[in-house]
Symmetry: C3
Subunit: 215 residues, 3 copies
């Protein structure tokens, strides 16, 4: 049983990491396409959106070389995401919900991952939650700065709030002695759930796709 | 006597650090409020304004994890500053001079602190002054980039010039063999003095408060 | 013979580094002047444009303190470039081709340098090319973010493409067993050549000078 949970844990994390990176990269690439950037601009935006948060987290805690330099998985996933967005952008905009689900998964996964890296370094609970939130949200901030707009998270607080709520929940479960695997999964599910519920009942579509259409 | 100076030095630095962080955080929070950001945006702006400069300095010299990750003082002071700004923003704008004095204190303290961290690493005088200036001014630069405006320091050079003058004065005093305590205090006072004199005789109010009212 | 190549290699690199830094600093300073920034803003822009890319590269691979902190060469060259731009900006705009050649040299040199630092750390080929491109292009991105405009490289892809092409060529030569000296020189020449050819046949002048005149 423990073996199975371990296997699920490792492979689940890995698959979700790829899905999340893919979704974040697509959100950056689509933002660049909607502003009619050249292919190079689109690729650069896909990169900074997908790896910006994790890179800042690695820099702040002193984890060098930063994670995406150490293997080629991220660079390959992001390149494919940029290519898919450029060739199939219109097709992608017809299935925004799938990308949106990926994006919510990325949000949940990146937050949890940031929290655990902070714990590894012996940092305090508040700081760990801040690190998780930075990991999940900062790529989008850099994307918006490069697009020369005020970052989305300043107007759509749910991004940050979902991460903070997930972080608090993580430590509550941990405090209650819940197994690490379930602590991870349940915190991620809470973040994904908050993100989806809010979009479902208040906005009907995540704002960055609406924006794309307006431009 | 040496004991007293030591005590004053430690506690003075600590109190001024808190006052400076508080003032910088308020300047970020008030800028966010004046642009009608959501509470999360206001809190994020308070954070980056207060810790941005010190974080960049720590990154450049390789001081990891960066300082604010190591204890919760900064995170608590900044959260209180953001809360006070949100609840009492109107009240704060009636006493701009108090915040302005805090801000000048922060400018002086952060410059001196950056210089000394550079000295600890054996860096050259010019580089130390550059580090002190970055510590004091860069939080405001990040704040302005996130607000999607051209950084204030590009138009209001006195911020940078006061820090550089204070840094040169620091090394002049040091060269003349003045005691570290007085070198620190006098350099800080010079920076605070330049900042206040300029505002008093040329601008009458620091620009970021004027801006708040115009918006 | 090997002695001569070694001497040429070292001194060539050093001279080109200074020329490249000088040109990048001028491009930042002139951009600030054309927006009527104060002298401090001009100096800050000259700095971030010239050292921004190398600083980000050093941070990503964990090379601390970052290179420009370790000696005063960069700080002196950049200060002179800022001064020359402020005093002789009009004169400089009459010889844009000289600055443009320096800029192309900087592009070639910084790319090669970034690649080799990545190789030193045992990073993969794709990552090394990414590091070289970041070294050469990111200073301009920070300059444009601070100027509150969408980064030039998003609209003028040749900057990035020239660096990537040079990087691929570097590894092709390396794979064929070409001597390090010639690998370096030929990759740099390719980048410089691509940059010049494109400007010569499509744009007639690099865009950042045209922009200066329009403002």
């Amino acid at each position: 049983m423990i073996e199975i949970i371990k296997w699920a844990n490792d492979n689940l994390l890995f698959s979700m990491d790829i899905l999340g990176t893919f979704a974040f990269a697509c959100s950056g690439a689509l933002a660049g396409i909607s502003k009619r950037f050249d292919p190079v601009g689109v690729v650069v935006l896909a990169f900074v959106t997908a790896i910006g948060g994790g890179t800042l987290r690695d820099i702040l805690i002193g984890n060098f070389p930063v994670l995406w330099l150490k293997n080629d998985t991220a660079i390959i996933v992001i390149s494919i995401a940029a290519l898919v967005s450029m060739l199939g952008g219109k097709w992608l905009q017809k299935i925004p919900y799938i990308l949106f689900i990926f994006d919510a998964i990325g949000l949940g996964l990146f937050t949890t991952y940031g929290i655990e890296l902070g714990l590894d370094r012996g940092l305090s609970i508040e700081i760990c939650i801040a690190l998780g939130t930075i990991t999940a949200c900062f790529g989008g901030v850099i994307r918006d700065v490069l697009l020369n707009t005020v970052p989305l998270i300043f107007h759509k607080e749910i991004y940050v709030m979902a991460c903070v709520a997930g972080g608090v929940f993580y430590f509550a479960l941990d405090f209650m002695g819940v197994h690490l695997f379930w602590t991870r999964v349940l915190s991620m599910l809470l973040i994904i759930f908050i993100r989806i519920i809010v979009v479902r009942y208040h906005l009907s579509l995540p704002k960055f796709y609406l924006k794309s259409k307006r431009n």
